[in-house]
C-alpha cells in the first residue's frame, strides 16, 4: 500500500475505534435498545439467507426509562427553555407557533391514517412484509 492508502486506512480504523468507545460510554438502557435492534438486523439477514429467525426482544420493554443521564439532560433543556422564554417574548411566540404547527401536523396524520387503517408494513416483527398486505 502507498502512503496515501495507509493514511486513509489509519484514519478509518481510528474513527471506527472512536465510534466503539462512544458506544461503550452510552447508558445501559440505550445499549439494551441497540441489542434489540441488532437482533432485528441479524434476523433480516437470516431471513434473506433462508434460515430460521431467533427471538427478538420486544422494543416496548426497553422503552426510554428515566435514567440519571436522561434526567440531567432534561433538566438542562428545561433550564435553557425557561431562560429563552423569559429573555425574549418573541422567542415565546415562535415556540408557541411551532407547538401549534406540530399539533396541526399530528391532526393531519390522524386524518390521513383514517383512509389507511391497516399499515402496509408491519413493524414489530421486524422480519418481512406480509405478502397479503403488499
Amino acid at each position: 500500500m502507498d502512503d496515501r492508502t495507509n493514511e486513509l486506512m489509519g484514519r478509518l480504523l481510528n474513527d471506527k475505534e472512536l465510534g466503539r468507545q462512544e458506544l461503550a460510554r452510552l447508558p445501559i438502557e440505550e445499549k439494551l435498545r441497540l441489542i434489540a435492534l441488532m437482533q432485528r438486523r441479524a434476523n433480516a439477514i437470516r431471513l434473506s439467507a433462508g434460515r430460521p429467525t431467533q427471538p427478538e426482544w420486544p422494543l416496548e420493554e426497553l422503552g426510554f426509562p428515566e435514567t440519571s443521564e436522561h434526567k440531567e439532560v432534561k433538566a438542562q433543556f428545561d433550564e435553557l427553555e425557561g431562560r429563552l422564554l423569559t429573555a425574549s417574548p418573541g422567542v415565546a411566540a415562535v415556540m408557541n407557533a411551532c407547538g401549534a404547527y406540530v399539533h396541526a401536523m399530528e391532526q393531519a396524520e390522524q386524518y390521513l391514517k383514517s383512509f389507511h387503517p391497516t399499515p402496509v408494513f408491519t413493524a414489530g416483527a421486524g422480519t418481512a412484509m406480509d405478502s397479503d398486505q403488499v
Binding site: A24, I28, K31, L34, I35, L62, E66, T67
Partner: protein, 168 residues
C-alpha cells in the same frame, strides 16, 4: 428490561433465590459496546436443601405461576428469554463479588468485568474470544486482579494462548 429485573428482584425477596447476578453478554454490555445476544443470563445462588441435587424447578414454578412460560432452557419474562444458571466455583465468586447497578429505576447486581473476562476465557468459544478482546480494549479492567483470578482458577495456559492469538 426494568420489569424483567423487577420480577427477578421480587423472586429474590420471596426467597426463591438467595442472591443473583447478571452474567454473560448483557453483563459485558455494562462495560463495553453492546454485543448481539439472544438472552439474559442470570446466575443464582439457591437456598440450601437436604438434596444433593441442584435443580432450578422452584424458579420455573415461581415464574410460571406469574404467567411467564418456560421455553427450552429459557423462561420468557415479558418477552425476553432469561436463562437461569446454577454456579460453580468461578461463577459463585463472580456472584458474591458482583456490583450494584441500575437499569432505569431498578437496582440489580452485575458481575465484575474481570470475572466476566475469566469466564469468557474459560468458555473459549469463538464469540467468547471476540468479546474478551473487546472487553480488554474497552473496559477499565483491574489487570492484577484479573491475572490473579486467572491463575487461581487454573486458566493460566488458556490466557497465554489467548494473548499469543491476540498479539500474533
Amino acid at each position: 428490561m426494568e420489569r424483567v429485573i423487577r420480577q427477578i428482584n421480587e423472586m429474590q425477596k420471596d426467597g426463591v433465590v438467595l442472591s443473583y447476578a447478571i452474567g454473560g453478554a448483557v453483563a459485558a454490555t455494562f462495560y463495553m459496546e453492546p454485543v448481539e445476544t439472544a438472552d439474559l443470563d442470570i446466575f443464582v445462588a439457591l437456598p440450601v436443601t437436604d438434596s444433593p441435587i441442584i435443580t432450578l424447578t422452584s424458579i420455573y414454578e415461581y415464574l410460571s405461576a406469574r404467567g411467564h412460560r418456560a421455553q427450552g432452557e429459557h423462561v420468557i419474562v415479558y418477552g425476553i428469554p432469561v436463562q437461569f444458571l446454577a454456579t460453580d466455583l468461578l461463577t459463585q465468586e463472580a456472584l458474591d463479588q458482583a456490583v450494584q447497578r441500575t437499569v432505569g429505576t431498578e437496582s440489580t447486581r452485575v458481575m465484575r468485568a474481570e470475572h466476566l473476562a475469566a469466564i469468557m476465557l474459560r468458555l473459549g468459544r469463538p464469540k467468547d474470544r471476540v468479546r474478551l478482546e473487546m472487553l480488554l480494549r474497552e473496559a477499565k479492567l483491574d489487570m492484577p486482579f484479573l491475572e490473579e483470578l486467572i491463575h487461581r482458577h487454573g486458566l493460566a495456559q488458556r490466557w497465554i494462548e489467548f494473548k499469543r492469538l491476540l498479539h500474533g
